[in-house]
């Protein structure tokens, strides 16, 4: 398996506030890593460091792929929803890396790519709408299209299931499972129950990082990883395969 990136004894944070301390991790092609942890535990800081948006205070981040080979879906609340921009332009911005003069190119290929992605997600009809007019689910689909514009080797998603209904959430995770055949995925979620059904491995981030090489995790393990999370799931999303500590013999369905 091709190694995409490695993190060695890395610490990162804002000002004097250390958010991540001495973490190490490797990401390979074909990985599907669910990143879980409490709010403020450093999940977003971790992926922003991987994306080069935050400089580590110590340690190393070694990239074996180009930075532009990473597709990024930020948290929706980081986006200004009243910004005057159309869905189509948002998706096209995913290919901005070509050049700063891109306004002048014909970009036929780029437009076709954007259209086919929008079509694939079932939102081609709304391509001329402005982003402010979209529902939460539509918006996430648009940002997923944007993240996929560059055919990334690694897809990084920060809480893609916020503000979306349960139906779309299930649909989204199935889509990610399909995409995982072509690219590695790092998925941040606070909903450990739901994602553990889809991801291959789990990383618990709470100032430190504990890598869990399977998608089955017990509450005991979470506690020992210093990752205080409530294991709950709701709605008609596919059931979790989380193990309860007193149900070691079979996979518990937890509601």
């Amino acid at each position: 398996m091709k190694k995409l990136l490695e993190i060695k004894n890395l610490s990162a944070g804002y000002d004097n506030n250390i958010v991540l301390e001495d973490i190490s991790m490797e990401v390979f092609a074909g990985d599907f890593i669910g990143v879980i942890g409490p709010n403020g535990g450093g999940k977003t800081t971790l992926i922003k460091t991987i994306l080069g948006l935050i400089k580590p205070t110590s340690g190393e981040l070694i990239m074996h792929t180009s930075k532009t080979n990473i597709g990024y879906l930020p948290q929706v609340n980081q986006i200004d929803k009243r910004f005057p921009i159309s869905v189509f332009d948002v998706v096209r911005s995913g290919k901005a890396k070509t050049s700063i003069f891109s306004s002048f190119h014909k970009n036929t290929e780029e437009k076709e790519k954007a259209e086919s992605l929008l079509d694939e997600m079932g939102i081609l009809a709304i391509r001329h709408k402005s982003i402010g007019e979209l529902s939460g689910g539509q918006m996430q689909r648009v940002f997923l299209c944007r993240a996929l514009m560059n055919q990334p080797e690694l897809l990084v998603l920060d809480e893609p299931s916020t503000y979306v209904d349960n139906n779309f959430e299930g649909e989204l995770y199935l889509k990610l499972k399909e995409l995982n055949e072509q690219m590695a995925i790092i998925l941040i979620s606070h909903d450990v129950g739901t994602i553990s059904f889809f991801v291959k491995t789990i990383a618990c981030v709470n100032r430190n990082l504990h890598y869990h090489p399977s998608n089955i995790i017990t509450e005991e393990q979470l506690t020992s990883y210093n990752c205080p999370l409530q294991i709950i799931t709701h709605g008609n999303i596919p059931h979790t395969v989380l193990k309860l500590h007193d149900e070691h013999e079979h996979h518990g369905h937890i509601h």
């Binding site: 930075k67 911005s93 306004s103």
Partner: protein, 276 residues
């Protein structure tokens, strides 16, 4: 019709007309950027800080607009530097530069021997006394802004919409932020003579608000803003001439009336989109 022919036979009126066209171009485009990016308050800070340069220009006997340009660019950089490196909250940083510039201006105007005759024209604008030299500068700025926004339209759009994502795309985000900050400063300084320091912010926000009623697309918003800015400036200019009232204030007043009209029409005919 005769009255128009008569008006355009006066040099000062032709100059004022050209000034309103050029002001509409630079303010329409730069204002769209400012409004979309929600940096109206920063622009207000830069505008008022430039008064320090005007006062200094008077005192040292150089062109006040040159002083204003230096002060506004420095304050633009200063605001960013204070909040990013100095850990000052951004709105506080803006207020510091805003009031510092005004204070420096007042002190220098006081120290300047004699009476500063057209100081009022910098504060409240005086489109009817814009000189040919100033028009050339405004023309150069308009050409600069049009070319910059045409060349780099997509880069500017993507950086403004989502700066973090633009960084992951390897776009030169910081460099563009500084270049655009300089263009904002120059736009403010060269349009001070048209509506004045106190009122310039309106040319950068009201036509854009009017345009935003009709469109939610960055490119179209720039075009509509230029149109509305020109329309209101020209009507305001005529009213101020015939009613013999201050031009800057009349132009702003017309901008607001136009905004109200468009909003009302859009509301009654259900044009434009619902607010999110």
């Amino acid at each position: 019709m005769d009255i128009f022919i008569e008006l355009f036979s006066y040099d000062f009126f032709v100059n004022a007309f050209l000034a309103s066209v050029l002001a509409a171009i630079s303010c329409g485009i730069i204002g769209t950027y400012i409004v979309s990016r929600r940096i109206v308050f920063i622009s207000g800070g830069i505008t008022h800080a430039s008064f320090g340069g005007i006062g200094m220009g008077y005192y040292m006997g150089i062109n006040p607009l040159l002083g204003a340009a230096i002060f506004s660019i420095l304050s633009g950089m200063g605001i960013q530097l204070f909040s990013s490196k100095g850990k000052v909250r951004e709105d506080s940083s803006i207020a510091i530069w805003w009031s510092l510039g005004m204070a420096i201006g007042i002190i220098f105007v006081y120290l300047t021997p004699g009476y500063a005759p057209n100081l009022m024209s910098y504060l409240f604008g005086s489109i009817l006394t814009v000189s040919t030299g100033e028009l050339w500068l405004m023309l150069a700025l308009s050409i600069l802004i049009i070319s910059f926004f045409t060349f780099f339209y997509r880069t500017i759009l993507y950086i403004s919409f989502d700066e973090d994502f633009a960084k992951t795309s390897d776009l030169p985000v910081d460099r563009f932020n500084y270049l655009l900050m300089i263009l904002i400063s120059l736009t403010i300084v060269l349009n001070i003579r048209v509506v004045g320091i106190i009122l310039i912010l309106s040319l950068l926000t009201i036509p854009q608000a009017t345009a935003n009623v009709l469109t939610r697309e960055f490119g179209k918003m720039m075009f509509y803003s230029v149109g509305f800015a020109f329309l209101a400036s020209f009507i305001g200019l005529l009213i101020s001439y015939f009613a013999d009232i201050p031009s800057g204030a009349t132009i702003i007043f017309t901008q607001v009336i136009l905004f109200g009209l468009v909003k009302l029409l859009a509301f009654s005919f259900k044009i434009g989109q619902k607010a999110p």
